[in-house]
Symmetry: C2
Subunit: 503 residues, 2 copies
């Protein structure tokens, strides 16, 4: 590599490093705002956010950035691998941001803020008509954005690409259809079986202090690094990666249902273990984060479902949980407990759904968004479409808009194309689990002994370390030797729920 | 005011607002680092600090800033009062920063970092010789800075001005000398009196939870606004103002001595109430902070000593404290308790000193620094000078360098001229108290009834609201109608300690 090329790459990487520093400061501000920043300081804090975010945005679309892209794109072969991948990422962001006329984008940002607060009120009043004009405008804006960005096969692909780069309608149609074909009859068979776990297992309260201590012990088993993170309490739990040495999680405690905190902590812990184990060499570049929403979700769901809702996991940990439960679980046999934490039952609200029906909630949203952006349905007809699909797939019909079309925050902030990531994540996780079994055939035995570290090590090596240097489908191909397929998830679900419900 | 002048001022204030936004982000990072940021993330976090601090420094000395100063200084009469004061502040910082050659400053920053870690080791080993070469270099650098900055009467004035703008050697010499003349014999008389509070009053432990609850109740009485702040725990307590709506404090709990947390919290609470009550109109300018170290200290000492070490304060609160003390104080009469929290007794370590002898610790440091920067003593002779002064003023001689010359962190970071602020703060506080009595003659009665809010209101109106728009001596003149004088502090000390020790 020539000296001049090296210098140019160095300057580019320094420029990017500065952007990432602004971003890390922003992330800390967001964390702080959600974990106890004093209310009266927030108005001025939002000015600070404005300055840092503008500076970041400005740098991502500046003439200087354009010059880096122009001069370095022509001679990629002279760049280091890190330089190349960073350039690609910056180019993508540049194109996304530069193509929307600034005045239009500003209008859109204002609309987003308005729409979110109208949505909150509309949901509280269960009144879709109130939210409809805002949703219509949000959809119109996104349709325009799609045209600015371009797409090859399906308009909706342009939105999917924002969250799950490289995954298209063609792929999702095929896999979601397979998923639907398995889950819909499975849910019906479960209902027909008349089998139900005992209801009173989770009644009675466990002190929050105990829930916290138990959660911390599980995080430790998982290999969450407390020297590189911390656990706080918030209403809406989340994981946030400031850098690989500082990945924080939060959880919510419900005195009357310990499952909220425990499975919530494990879920966020899965996200955090991903971010904690991204290669240090990627620090200071936009590559130093999870590669997509779906792959991120695959890691949280891996720990939450494939690990912590596995019977073997509780062979090791049920005794420990009992020791914190003030005698409440002492007379519940492990199998009853295991059945209860895996109950499957159709319900209206996505975020409260069980792990079998959850994917159906996602598929419904996917089908609606796809129809919307291909002009096959108009916003005013969405409640009807929503309710019909719930009836068809889950056998239940929402009583009102609040428990139907208005339940999710995503659309009010213009996040279209996001939902599929949740079900893709589950699919990725099941396919990864299958691959993991080749390397760790004693998987269940490890769980029974509380040995979760080999699992973490495998995920670190196969997935985490790469950050954003590998795209989602590339990860799946490299890890499993196959293309993405719903087969492993459908098999996993059929095996698990047939056994649970003795179908 | 012409439209063009208004526009120019607007641009300038916007520029400054951006600088302050970077600063607020930096303050949040500092707070986070001290209250529980994960260790492994700190290396990358210091990169973020580097980027933001460089940007701030760059903006304070940029050609753009120079152009603002040049074009606006000539037409001050066209500026708003806010614009004028902001310009003055920026000009001062500009001159301070621009006059030091960048290469020299860089060398100095590296030296600071090295010196601090060497100092830590030297103190642990009680070995001044180990630290001496670093101290010599730090002093040499500061002597050069003094020459760059200039001074009118005394070289040391240039350093004093960094922390207490407008206060000079001439003023301090006069007032410290009066202070010394009163305190030195007072301390001796106390020793001669043979009177001592009962030692066992503070033995026995109060649970940290109780100490915390009591501290929170006192903060509430003081009028610290919890919607604009929060209380955390750190090894070294501090108050930090991010903006007037977000001023956080920390405290340290010692299970075996509740005084650490309670008086520490009240002290930091005093700092915080200052910052919480700066006028909102100053937000986004460098004026939105306490005007000097000394005035800041006057507010913390006002609450810690003039309020919370007053007998009347405990007439109201002693019962409350007892209720948290598990019966330990039940048999201690109020007067014994009051005597014990005001014990005066010479000791070696400044930060553990009582409120009478504390000023002598400061005066010693002041005299040493003044001699140092006027070439009347060389670094190698400092331990001898230190020990002689402790012998002369306090009647005790340090046994080694660790409990003598090496005890403070300040010099290791090159902070010369800082120490006097502590004693000036006490002097300011006593002078303010005298003025307050004209407006609130029932001061002691208010304390006896736990009515601290009129005191806060008075401080808000007279001092806090102005932030940095008034200089320290201007505040004193405006609030008390007199120039700064040690008279009120000496009277306060003589009255208080004569009564306590029945002299």
């Amino acid at each position: 590599m020539g000296k001049r090329a090296l210098e140019k790459e160095g300057k580019f990487l320094n420029y990017v490093k500065k952007m990432e520093a602004y971003d890390e400061a922003l992330q800390l501000i967001y964390w702080d705002m959600r974990t106890g920043a004093p209310k009266k300081g927030l108005q001025q804090r939002s000015q600070v956010i404005g300055v840092l975010a503008s500076e970041y945005f400005h740098m991502s679309t500046s003439e200087e950035m354009a010059a880096f892209i122009a001069s370095l794109s022509g001679k990629k072969e002279t760049l280091s691998s890190l330089g190349q991948k960073t350039l690609e990422e910056c180019k993508k962001t540049y194109n996304q941001n530069i193509k929307i006329p600034p005045a239009e984008y500003k209008e859109y940002v204002i609309l987003q803020a308005e729409a979110e607060s109208v949505w909150e009120e509309a949901r509280a009043k269960s009144d879709f008509e109130m939210f409809r004009p805002y949703l219509e405008k949000l959809v119109e804006f996104n349709k325009k954005f799609i045209n600015y960005w371009g797409y090859s096969e399906n308009k909706y692909d342009a939105l999917l690409d924002l969250y799950e780069p490289g995954v298209t309608v063609k792929t999702i149609d095929k896999e979601f259809s397979a998923l639907k074909k398995t889950i819909v009859p499975l849910v019906r068979n479960i209902a027909d079986s008349g089998k139900k776990p005992s209801k009173d297992i989770f009644w009675g309260s466990i002190p929050i202090k105990n829930q916290k201590e138990f959660s911390l012990k599980i995080l430790e088993q998982m290999g969450y690094d407390f020297q590189a993170g911390r656990l706080d309490e918030t209403v809406h739990p989340f994981a946030i990666g400031l850098n690989p040495g500082d990945v924080r999680i939060t959880t919510r405690y419900n005195q009357n249902d310990w499952r909220t905190a425990v499975f919530g902590t494990i879920h966020e812990g899965g996200h955090a273990i991903y971010e904690q184990n991204i290669s240090q060499t990627l620090i200071g570049t936009p590559l130093c984060t999870g590669t997509s929403m779906g792959i991120h979700e695959s890691q949280s769901l891996f720990y939450e479902n494939i690990v912590a809702r596995n019977r073997s996991f509780w062979v090791h940990n049920y005794h420990l949980l009992k020791s914190y439960a003030n005698g409440q679980l002492d007379h519940v046999p492990l199998d009853d407990f295991y059945f209860a934490i895996n109950e499957a039952k159709p319900s209206f609200i996505r975020i409260e759904a069980d792990n079998l029906t959850y994917s159906l909630h996602i598929i419904i949203r996917y089908e609606i968004e796809k129809a919307l952006f291909n002009d096959e349905v108009s916003v005013k007809d969405l409640p009807e479409m929503w309710n019909a699909k719930y009836e068809e797939y889950l056998g239940i019909c929402p009583n009102n808009d609040a428990e139907g079309i208005l339940q999710d925050v995503h659309w009010s902030s213009g996040s279209f194309g996001y939902f599929p990531s949740y079900a893709l994540g589950y699919m990725y996780a099941a396919q990864m689990k299958h691959a993991m079994l080749q390397d760790l055939p004693s998987y269940d035995e490890l769980l029974e002994n509380g040995e979760l570290l080999p699992i973490k090590k495998w995920l670190n090596e196969k997935i985490h370390q790469f950050g954003k240097t590998k795209k989602p489908l590339e990860i799946i191909q490299d890890v499993t030797g196959e293309r993405l397929t719903a087969d492993y998830l459908t098999r996993y679900l059929v095996d698990k729920y047939s056994a649970l419900y003795a179908l």
